[in-house]
């Protein structure tokens, strides 16, 4: 019983990480239908901000996290305003090509600046070690991860549900033209949402270093997982992303633990099965 609970918990923690990284992509895709493959690059940016602040300037891990969020968010707005905006009405292909081109450039630029080796990170002692409850070991860092992600989810859902800005986001996702007609500045709502989503990706990237490591290919490797979560969860749905991230996180971790020969097979299979069953994703409306 012990190992099973531990594996489930690890999977859940991994899923929470995936949720943080991909929730922004889901909302922005749902709002503008913009296929932003560069989302992973902002997660990678946040991770490198944390690594640089810690290793070069000697900051503590927790102090770097807000900066990972802010830098990734600001950088994303700069790209949104200049490169992405003209492409909102372009074809899928153009959007895919432009954003994957940016990912390639980001990967190469990081390899140039930081090298291709894996980046070391030393998390503080109070986040290390294990707590044993009922015969199962729980890593302290993963408990921390789950707490942060749950806190963020509660804030997100509450913000979306109970604030004016949240209502504007929901209106823009549900019916962009109607929202414009009611005087909502959809472009500005979108820019803020984009920044928020990319900031969360940056935060998720920084938190992910300890779990999955960090090197220059981060943006490409996790891009695929992010897209899987978004399409399984359904575009524009926060609860959908949450459920999808947990499903993918648990099935990946459990799959690697119980069926190691299957490799990453399982999550691709889960994705294809879900999309065949519900083409718009679990919680998608379109």
């Amino acid at each position: 019983m012990g190992p099973f609970v531990a594996v489930m918990f690890d999977g859940f923690a991994y899923g929470m990480l995936l949720f943080l990284v991909s929730v922004g992509l889901s909302v922005t895709l749902g709002m503008m239908n913009f296929v932003n493959l560069a989302h992973g690059a902002f997660a990678m940016l946040g991770a490198y901000v944390t690594v640089t602040l810690m290793n070069t300037y000697g900051w503590s891990f927790l102090a770097t996290l807000p900066f990972a969020f802010i830098v990734a968010g600001l950088a994303s707005v700069a790209f949104e305003q200049t490169l992405f905006r003209p492409l909102y009405r372009a074809s899928d292909l153009d959007q895919v090509l432009l954003t994957i081109g940016l990912v390639f450039m980001a990967v190469a630029a990081v390899a140039y600046v930081f090298g291709t080796e894996s980046q070391p990170i030393h998390i503080p002692d109070y986040l290390r070690g294990f707590i044993t409850i009922g015969g199962a070991n729980f890593a302290v860092y993963r408990i921390f991860l789950v707490s942060v992600a749950l806190l963020v989810s509660v804030l997100l859902i509450a913000g979306l549900e109970f604030t004016r800005f949240g209502a504007q986001i929901r209106a823009s996702v549900d019916n962009q033209r109607m929202a414009r007609g009611l005087g909502i500045n959809v472009d500005r709502v979108f820019a803020y949402t984009f920044a928020l989503g990319s900031g969360l990706a940056g935060l998720g990237g920084a938190l992910a270093i300890e779990v999955v490591g960090l090197d220059h290919s981060f943006a490409l490797i996790y891009l695929i997982v992010m897209l899987i979560i978004v399409s399984v969860g359904g575009l524009g749905s926060i609860s959908g992303s949450f459920v999808a991230a947990v499903v993918i996180g648990v099935s990946d971790t459990a799959g690697k633990y119980y069926f190691p020969y299957l490799g990453a097979f399982l999550i691709y299979l889960v994705m294809i099965a879900v999309l065949l069953w519900r083409p718009a994703g679990l919680f998608g409306k379109r």
Binding site: L98, G101, L102, M105, A108, I224, I228
Partner: protein, 331 residues
């Protein structure tokens, strides 16, 4: 290269005008013989290019004509490569039958998956092609008893073509073989896209919902063209397995799907020659820059993609056509 249709032209005449060979096309195909005389030391590269061009042509058929964005086209390339490699490993090294069997196997997978592909559009479609591609990659990785896994497929032995032409170190046979296959497939594709079927594909690309209303069943047309494209990709994969005598997991990888997409877009999608021109530029550039760290090569590819999307929406050939059109517009 659509000529502006004149008024009062009968459909048959329009199609016939499209099919006629342009002098530039003949010049182009004669120029493909140049490596034999002028760059004999680059024949292996030329053979790689011919194979990549065939693969790009197969993607162009579904991307440029039917409007299906695929991020997993390497699935069929790899399927062809592994089939051709495996049958020669298990004792049948005759290349031409191997080629046909490999193409058939790839086509079978293409036909099976086309039922899924034809039902979806937009992001779901992109994700499904990506997912199917990754699934095949992981399957080949897991089945290492059959495919050799990450070490690649060892022990491929291809017999001489027609029992006469053996593979040489310089690639004379390899290039001739690849070029002949490329040319034959090209002629067939050219015929296909100028047929009424090809025209209805373009209609589907523009509006898949309306086409059935004028008697062109979108779904079954997409299934057909997707299968044909898979067969072509399988041929390209089989060629690479036979001419290099190795198959590695790279043949199924996401990078290969992404590379071929870059080639088609660079040259210009939906223009028949776009993929060929794109693959020539892409592979020659990569060969020339191979001294540079491959990490930095990725940067230039990325920049190229951004530039093409921003400034050359229809690729190089699209840009050239536009130039010509502007010139003609001036009195």
């Amino acid at each position: 290269m659509a000529a502006p249709p004149e008024t009062n032209i009968r459909p048959q005449q329009f199609l016939a005008a499209q099919v006629r060979w342009h002098p530039l096309e003949i010049v182009f195909w004669v120029a493909t013989l140049a490596p034999f005389y002028f760059f004999p030391s680059y024949l292996s590269l030329a053979s790689q290019i011919a194979i990549a061009a065939l693969f790009a042509l197969s993607l162009d058929l579904i991307l440029g004509y039917a409007g299906i964005v695929s991020l997993g086209h390497a699935a069929f390339f790899g399927m062809g490569a592994y089939t051709a490699g495996l049958i020669s490993k298990f004792g049948w090294g005759e290349p031409l039958t191997g080629l046909i069997i490999a193409a058939f196997a790839a086509g079978l997978v293409g036909y099976a998956t086309s039922f899924i592909i034809a039902k979806f559009r937009h992001l779901t479609l992109i994700m499904l092609t990506l997912g199917i591609g990754l699934l095949l990659y992981e399957a080949a990785n897991s089945a290492s008893w059959l495919t050799g896994g990450a070490d690649g497929l060892q022990g491929i032995d291809i017999w001489p073509i027609f029992n006469t032409f053996d593979y040489d170190l310089w690639g004379y046979t390899a290039y001739t073989y690849s070029l002949v296959v490329l040319f034959l497939v090209f002629v067939a594709t050219r015929r296909l896209i100028h047929s009424p079927f090809g025209l209805s594909l373009r209609g589907i690309r523009e509006n898949a919902v309306r086409m059935p209303a004028i008697g062109a069943p979108s779904e079954s047309h997409i299934r057909t063209v997707y299968t044909i494209s898979a067969v072509m990709a399988g041929l390209a994969g089989a060629l690479i397995a036979q001419t290099t005598s190795t198959v590695s997991l790279e043949a199924l990888s996401f990078e290969r799907s992404a590379d071929v997409l870059v080639m088609v877009v660079l040259g210009g999608a939906g223009r028949l020659y776009g993929g060929i021109i794109g693959s020539i530029i892409f592979l020659v550039a990569r060969d020339q820059f191979s001294g540079i760290n491959p990490q930095y090569w990725l940067f230039w590819i990325g920049l190229l993609l951004v530039m093409v999307v921003m400034f050359l929406p229809n690729g190089i050939l699209g840009g050239l056509a536009r130039l010509k059109w502007l010139q003609r517009g001036k009195p």
